[in-house]
């Protein structure tokens, strides 16, 4: 069974540009979570989507946004990129909220220059 897959693996953008990161959850999983892992910091929660709806968002500015498609895959968009947005962006998926473990993808390394 395929795990959570993310694309691209690496992404280099210049300051002010937009970045789009993609995530395919494990088959059958309806919840998708996005996390930012900056160097030296733990994982910081960004967004949670379930059944196509945004259920919760972390303490990040509105230029971080996303969506979930009918097939439960998800996109994370970061507008007006800043140097501080350079980080590993992790996607995780789960069957749902109640008592279910989330499984992480390998991440997308975003570098803003």
């Amino acid at each position: 069974e395929a795990g959570v897959t993310q694309s691209p693996t690496h992404l280099i953008k210049t300051r002010g540009q937009q970045a789009t990161l993609r995530c395919s959850p494990i088959s059958g999983h309806t919840s998708v979570y996005w996390y930012q892992q900056a160097l030296g910091l733990g994982l910081q929660f960004l967004l949670w989507y379930d059944e196509g709806e945004e259920r919760n968002r972390g303490n990040f500015p509105p230029r971080f946004s996303g969506r979930q498609f009918p097939n439960y895959s998800s996109e994370l968009n970061v507008n007006a990129l800043e140097l501080e947005d350079s980080a590993l962006y992790l996607c995780a998926s789960s069957l749902g909220r109640e008592n279910t473990e989330a499984f992480f993808g390998q991440g997308t390394r975003l570098t803003v220059v």
Binding site: G42, L43, N56, G96
Partner: protein, 114 residues
């Protein structure tokens, strides 16, 4: 109050030794404490987790010790192996499935030398 403080930042252990990573939290509403293992180029994977109704949980060479009164929990890796070399994250939340509520520590990079 939402922080989870993790130490040490890095740890070097000889093969066969015991690796110990510590975490402390403030929010007494936390009732789920997982540990994640992350290898380079991979996403974190759940290693072991504990609820506050027990003081210790063991799975193979990995043990979580939990001290509710001190609001601390730790990961012990017995007979550490080079294959255990990874970054370990502790986390805490209220509820097992509340992935969006997980608060992560800053991570410990463990290196086990032969």
């Amino acid at each position: 109050q939402q922080q989870v403080k993790q130490s040490p930042q890095s740890l070097i252990v000889q093969k066969g030794g015991i690796s110990i990573i510590n975490c402390a939290y403030e929010n007494t509403a936390f009732d789920y404490f997982p540990w994640y293992q992350q290898f380079p180029g991979k996403g974190p994977a759940l290693l072991i987790a504990i609820r506050p109704d027990v003081s210790e949980k063991k799975e193979g060479r990995f043990t979580i010790s939990f001290n509710k009164s001190a609001k601390q929990f730790s990961l012990h890796i017995m007979d550490s192996q080079p294959g255990d070399s990874a970054t370990y994250f502790c986390a805490a939340s209220n509820g097992v499935g509340n992935t969006d509520k997980l608060i992560f520590g800053t991570g410990t990079r463990l290196q086990v030398f032969p």
